[in-house]
Point group: C2
Chain length 197, copies 2
């Protein structure tokens, strides 16, 4: 039954993502993934050629999903400022709901291949923001600025705020919506002429 094949593959991916989200790449050994997925280690190698390729797929799939949502926002209606604030808030809100992606995204994995994929993904995120920023500068909503640098700073800012020492896992349950608002306001102000509030 090819349903089972597909379902197994999916289960392995889900298990791998779960482990990464909970303990980073460090906790996601093949044996642990196999256990979590309810299969044997050998089975994993029937579906994925190597640990590295498995995790590249985990990472890119998660990022692809996020990128699509952000892209919708970036290409949608509203001023550049509104779209930027919406994009940052949307990402951080989902990250806080279950900080899956955020961890996978910041952790430095052992395998160079996965690391390379991570860098590519960060670039993709940056590109989404570059588009919004370009619109904003063209419409004279935002001042002239180095778009590459601003985009990288935005990605870094919200990532650190989510998983760094401030992040929800480190301190007691601070108000999540307040944190989301603080982060997105920071990012909007950072590329604007004035705070706007």
């Amino acid at each position: 039954m090819e349903e089972r094949l597909a379902s197994n593959r999916e289960r392995i991916l889900v298990a791998a993502r779960k482990l990464v989200s909970e303990g980073g790449f460090r906790e996601a050994q093949i044996a642990a993934v196999a256990n979590e997925a309810g299969v044997s280690t050998g089975t994993i190698y029937r579906y994925f050629p190597s640990k590295a390729e498995l995790f590249v797929e985990v990472l890119t799939a998660a990022v692809q999903y996020e990128i699509e949502i952000l892209d919708q926002i970036a290409k949608g209606p509203g001023s550049a400022r509104e779209r930027l604030q919406a994009a940052v808030a949307s990402f951080t809100r989902r990250a806080l709901a279950g900080p899956y992606l955020a961890y996978a995204f910041i952790a430095e994995p052992a395998e160079p291949e996965v690391d390379a994929a991570r860098i590519r993904c960060r670039k993709q995120f940056g590109d989404v923001f570059i588009n919004i920023l370009r619109d904003g500068v063209a419409a004279d909503e935002f001042p002239e600025q180095d778009l590459d640098a601003s985009a990288a700073c935005i990605v870094g800012a919200y990532t650190e705020a989510l998983v760094g020492p401030i992040g929800p896992s480190r301190r007691g349950n601070r108000n999540k919506e307040a944190l989301i608002a603080s982060i997105s306001r920071f990012c909007v102000r950072a590329v604007s002429r004035d705070a706007g509030d």
Copy 2:
């Protein structure tokens, strides 16, 4: 000779820092450190109880040095805005000159102990910025804001801009001073009412 003892210890630390700076924690095995320092692996264990403790010391020493410089700036003269811009520029300039610390700082090391030290260090950096921001808000230079979140965002912003896909190691030699200026302007705007330029 106890001079030699101290000098050996120092050589090991320097060698470890060099390897981390060049290839991240991944490249810094005990054997490599021993080779770089010109001692045997056994000798390293005469000076450090474990690999983890060696790298905790490497990390905290490097960060301590940076923190002191930033603290000077934070406690020095000038408006909060000026001090913030100077602090960010100072850090990024040194990081670009030899991206030692920046890499050590972002890389996820294998050992949980080192990872914990990294989080603590990020917190320390954040605290420096919190002080500047608090001054600025008190003097009504900056609008009211979540200081913890802003500080984390600042640390994340410049870190990502330095070592992420934008960083000097990824693209051709863009103008370093221009990058420094872009990053620090981003951070200052992000906490200010207006861009100020």
